[in-house]
């Protein structure tokens, strides 16, 4: 493989050396035993169970705590091995064969002791609401129920306590989902035994979960992976919602008598003698309430951390049921569930995750996956699904990474994981990657969500960057005939742009077919992504003015001297401009552009330029009045942003970087960036003006908005942490002072509490927190206003998009093959509004009343379809529908 030739070619890296050393730690016999249990089945799961049993019995006296911990690690970190751990624990319930005979279970066997200890650990997971661990332990218990070790009645009671959670008043979706999955999956595995002991139980579980999911319909509507602006219904063809798949799999299992798809290595063991063996009865548990949900009741509610809002989870299907498992079937659900668990558990090491995922078939019943090319087919396959492993992995990883509004792990983890899977087996995984890309690409025509499209283009670029930018672009040449803003063309444009950012222009041009090089193709940026200094050309107006400022910068003049130069420059310029031009604005633009020109060589040069001339920037941001920060005027700050956007108009990445640092250095506020994006972005590039006006949002504008909103939110979060720290410090100090006061109280006189000096740091942190919270609210409010004026423009709006309302009908959607630029523009803008609502919903909820009053009041009593849809998306997101 070429990808690591250079890497391995040189001298060995110390990193490798250290890894070797770590593995050589001397282990005690107990540690070795623990490791043997954890490594159970790495070669042949079925054969190794007995060997590990012997190893356990051979180490006397048994260390029950160590054994239980080993089982815990095995079960919670390697969920695909759970059936085999159950089998091992089942064997440990036998009495050791004394005279080579009489293998009978005993009430106080080693296995029983381990299980009792194991239970305590489970109880701790539940108490701490460690849902993942809890769920895997339930899988383990379910197998133990099937192996007759645990009493079915007590297990049913355990599942019941999770079902109870679904009936809690105002239960959050995240909590309900996790509880429902615990109950559903426990039932899937142990259903046969449970239904024979309590025939009505399966149906009760299904009904409870179904009753819950029926309340999630509006949530499904806002996160379904395809956008249907005309329809209030949930219409998803190529994706499945997680809880729905669980219900469907359960129903299928129920009607098949719970003939489950799980390996059951214990099933061949001789049955336990019920006369002498009492199954373990699981004590009852109570699922405690969420800590955060309680915190909401505390007095400092507004200072508590904002919890991520959870929504129904749709996983995209990319392949047919004959290629990859259908998660609505019991076997399909089980495979999907295992793979998702592995992706989450091994997030700490994507390389190992990739290896383990590719080894997954050995943990399922034979015939589940197609044998590897060259490998002999299994002798007697138990099932004949013959799914394709690589396609299944791709579908599952991409499915998890494209969950809306937010994936569980960060995007780049999934991207990196796919890269690693490819690196291990390029010849088999490569084709699955290609097919996945084609499938996602083709669904762009059918309303694939804009945020999914954005993540898709990011993954595409990252993936290509790891595999020599080899993609068969020429198969997409026919799509160049589509409307310029058609999602497919927008995708090609962004994908190429992101590739260029990771590489460089000439390299990417080389990877594209000729037909995509032309300006009409609109795939490549119009020119290499360099700076565009407006006053560079001596024939341009104001060239001399710009040169005079540049000379000061180059001579490292002091900021004050530049500021006084600007004063005289203003007078000179005043005489040669037309009446419609604003001289202050012109000075700001020339100065900002000149400063960016000085800093245009690299990101570091930019930082140096800004840092050296902070007082200058602050002066012009304030409209020339003052060099103190935070005093900027909206108009002046908009000019600075415009100058920057113009300077980097051929390099959208740099626009985002400059904006970010202007916010970081507090030249502009997040709200300024939001306002600018809605009001001025269309003015940047005149030649692109026909693409931009009437105003619409594409991925570029959305990224600017998102960066500004996240900056505002991040500042509040940092301030909150600081405040919490200072509060604790302050409380401690007060407690100490009080304690001291108590000691002095010896003569029986009750002295008043010693006055504690006012905590200056705390007071200023409180002030900062409240002003940042205000800024956050303004940024969100401005965003909402911006969207509303784009999508339901009033007749007097500056750039009304005539199509914003037209495309909302079903007829229009079915006619989308004839949509032009403006229709797709409007459609994409709607998509970003929908994403804005659901992605920022936890914050929007906090300010719902004010924001609604500001943005929706003018629609009162109207029957504008755009207003109705805006309001509906909003209501669903803030949980008011």
């Amino acid at each position: 493989m070429s990808y690591n030739r250079h890497y391995r070619g040189g001298r060995r890296h110390y990193r490798d050396d250290e890894d070797d050393r770590r593995r050589d730690i001397v282990e005690s016999p107990q540690e070795r035993l623990k490791l043997a249990i954890i490594k159970l089945g790495e070669v042949d799961p079925y054969q190794e169970i007995a060997a590990v049993e012997t190893h356990i019995r051979g180490l006397a006296p048994p260390d029950i705590y160590n054994l239980s911990e080993s089982f815990h690690i095995g079960v919670t970190e390697q969920p695909y091995k759970i059936p085999f751990y159950a089998a091992l624990l089942r064997l440990l319930h036998n009495n050791p064969p004394t005279d080579g005979e009489s293998i009978i279970a005993d009430g106080n066997s080693l296995g029983k002791q381990i299980l009792e200890e194991f239970w305590k650990g489970f109880q701790a997971y539940v108490d701490k609401l460690m849902w993942r661990e809890t769920r895997f332990c339930i899988h383990f218990f379910a197998h133990l129920v099937s192996a007759q070790i645990i009493s079915p009645e007590s297990f049913a009671a355990l599942l019941q306590s999770f079902i109870t959670v679904l009936d809690e008043f105002g239960v959050s979706h995240g909590r309900a989902k996790r509880a429902a999955l615990c109950a559903a999956e426990g039932l899937m595995i142990a259903g046969a035994v449970l239904s024979s002991s309590k025939p009505t139980f399966p149906n009760e579980v299904v009904t409870s979960i179904q009753t819950y999911t029926e309340t999630t319909n509006s949530g499904k509507w806002i996160v379904q992976p395809v956008v249907r602006l005309h329809s209030p219904n949930v219409e998803v063809e190529n994706a499945d919602e997680l809880l729905d798949t669980a219900i469907n799999a359960l129903k299928a299992l129920e009607s098949a008598g719970f003939e489950g798809p799980y390996p059951r290595p214990y099933s061949g063991y001789p049955p336990l003698d019920i006369s002498s063996f009492t199954p373990f009865s699981l004590p009852s548990v109570l699922v405690p309430p969420e800590v955060i949900e309680l915190e909401g009741l505390s007095t400092e509610a507004e200072e508590s951390e904002i919890k991520r809002q959870e929504w129904p989870e749709y996983f995209l299907r990319l392949f047919g049921d004959d290629v990859t498992p259908d998660p609505n079937t019991p076997a399909g659900y089980a495979v999907r569930n295992d793979l998702l668990a592995m992706i989450d558990v091994f997030e700490v090491n994507r390389k190992e995750a990739a290896r383990l995922l590719l080894e997954y078939p050995k943990w399922v019943v034979s015939g589940t996956f197609k044998p590897r090319p060259g490998a002999p087919p299994p002798d007697e396959p138990l099932v004949n699904y013959n799914w394709q492993l690589e396609s299944t992995l791709l579908e599952t990883i991409l499915g998890a990474s494209l969950i809306l509004p937010q994936s569980t792990q960060v995007q780049i983890y999934y991207d990196g994981l796919i890269t690693e899977v490819c690196k291990i087996s390029p010849s088999t995984v490569g084709p699955a990657v290609g097919k996945s890309i084609r499938k996602l690409y083709s669904s762009l025509t059918d309303g694939l969500d804009v945020e999914i499209e954005r993540r898709f283009s990011e993954w595409f670029a990252i993936h290509m960057s790891n595999f020599n930018f080899q993609w068969v672009w020429k198969e997409w040449i026919p799509d160049l005939d589509l409307a310029i803003q058609h999602p497919k063309r927008a995708f090609m444009r962004t994908a190429v742009e992101y590739e260029i950012r990771l590489s460089y222009y000439d390299r990417i041009v080389k990877s594209l077919p000729e037909a995509m090089h032309t300006p009409e193709a609109h795939i490549l940026p119009k020119q290499t992504p360099g700076p565009d200094f407006m006053y560079d050309d001596p024939s341009k107006p104001h060239h001399d003015a710009a040169q005079s400022i540049l000379n000061l910068f180059r001579g490292r003049a002091k900021a004050e001297d530049v500021i006084s130069h600007l004063d005289s420059l203003r007078n000179t310029l005043e005489s040669d401009i037309t009446e419609s031009e604003n001289v202050d604005s012109l000075v700001r633009i020339i100065t900002t552009q000149s400063l960016l020109h000085i800093g245009s060589r690299s990101f570091s040069h930019l930082l140096n330029a800004i840092e050296r001339y902070l007082p200058l920037l602050r002066t012009i941001a304030s409209g020339g009045m003052t060099a103190s920060a935070g005093a900027g005027t909206a108009e002046a700050k908009a000019d600075i942003l415009s100058a920057a956007a113009l300077f980097w108009k051929y390099n959208p990445q740099m626009v985002a970087i400059v904006f970010d640092k202007l916010m970081q250095y507090q030249i502009v506020d997040p709200t300024d960036v939001v306002s600018w994006t809605f009001l001025h972005v269309s003015e940047v590039d005149e030649s692109e003006a026909d693409l931009k006006a009437p105003l619409n949002l594409s991925a570029f504008e959305w990224n600017l908005l998102k960066a500004a909103l996240d900056k505002a939110i991040g500042r509040v979060n940092s301030a909150r942490r600081k405040l919490a720290m200072l509060r604790k410090e302050d409380d401690d100090n007060r407690a100490r002072a009080k304690a001291r006061g108590g000691n002095m109280d010896v003569d029986g006189e009750t002295k008043p509490d010693e006055p504690i000096p006012e905590n200056v740091a705390l007071a200023s942190a409180l002030k900062a927190f409240s002003s940042l919270t205000r800024e956050q609210k303004t940024a969100l409010s401005r965003t909402l206003e911006g969207f509303v004026s784009c999508l339901a423009p009033s007749p007097t709006s500056l750039h009304p998009n005539p199509k914003a309302r037209e495309i909302l009908t079903e007829h229009s959607w079915h006619n989308r093959a004839n949509w032009g630029k403006e229709e797709w523009n409007a459609w994409e803008t709607w998509g970003w509004y929908r994403h804005f609502c659901r992605a920022y919903s936890p914050y929007l909820r906090n300010y719902a009343t004010t924001l609604m009053a500001v943005s929706f009041a003018r629609f009162e009593g109207q029957s504008d379809p755009a207003a109705i849809l805006l309001q509906k998306m909003w209501d669903v997101s803030i949980g008011q529908e």
């Binding site: 558990v345 950012r501 390299r507 007082p615 103190s628």
Partner: protein, 224 residues
């Protein structure tokens, strides 16, 4: 989940030969580090390419982001010599890069990340005899991305080289040569109308106690 697999976000046992900080303190610093050392870069890779890749691990909504990038330069020629430092605002972002980015390709080379004690003056320069990195002194192979072994780099890269060679000709050393990237948000006095001396990074937060505290910490670190 460290029982079954080794997490990728552990620092290596690299030791900065020029640091005078004791090992224990170094480990503490690494446990909170927001800075990464990035190695095996092509000499032609730009800060913007690095920014693009590492911004995937940035978490602005948690108060994070890319603070600055310090390109490693050849001591003599002031041209990139194949390493850099990426500094985030939060430790979690540095860990995420270790997990998800280290060992993937940038500019068609597998790059390596390591948690770092943090940039100090002078560390942007190569420490090899000839001005570049030590590793390139001993290298036996032909590596076009790192100057080859002759001057026969590929045609495209010659073009890129020209830009690269000029880019840092103005690189300075000494205090203040490297920008800070902007500090955390802080309350600002809004004294309208008064043209006071501009604030510079050195006198930030001089009005409140918290600010003084940060400053003392900085001095301590500088001393070490």
């Amino acid at each position: 989940m460290a029982h079954v697999v080794q997490p990728l976000d552990q620092p290596s046992n690299y030791k900065d030969s020029q640091t005078r900080i004791d090992r224990k303190r170094q480990n503490e610093m690494l446990a909170n580090s927001t800075t990464l050392y990035i190695g095996n870069l092509s000499f032609f890779t730009t800060e913007e390419q690095i920014y693009e890749l590492f911004s995937k691990c940035a978490n602005a909504a948690d108060g994070g982001g890319i603070k600055r990038i310090i390109m490693g330069l050849d001591r003599n020629t002031r041209t990139p010599c194949g390493f850099c430092f990426v500094e985030y605002y939060t430790h979690a972002e540095a860990l995420a890069s270790m997990r998800y980015v280290s060992g993937t390709k940038l500019d068609e080379r597998i790059i390596r990340c390591d948690l770092d004690l943090g940039y100090r003056e002078g560390r942007q320069f190569g420490r090899g005899k000839s001005g570049g990195q030590v590793r390139d002194e001993h290298r036996q192979d032909y590596d076009p991305g790192r100057g080859g072994w002759g001057a026969q780099a590929q045609r495209l890269e010659v073009e890129r080289r020209r830009a690269v060679e000029e880019r840092y000709a103005d690189a300075q050393d000494g205090p203040g040569a490297v920008a800070s990237g902007g500090e955390d948000w802080k309350e600002i006095e809004t004294t309208q109308g008064r043209l006071k001396r501009g604030r510079s990074p050195e006198d930030e937060g001089d009005s409140d106690r918290m600010g003084r505290r940060t400053k003392i910490e900085e001095v301590e670190i500088d001393r070490m």
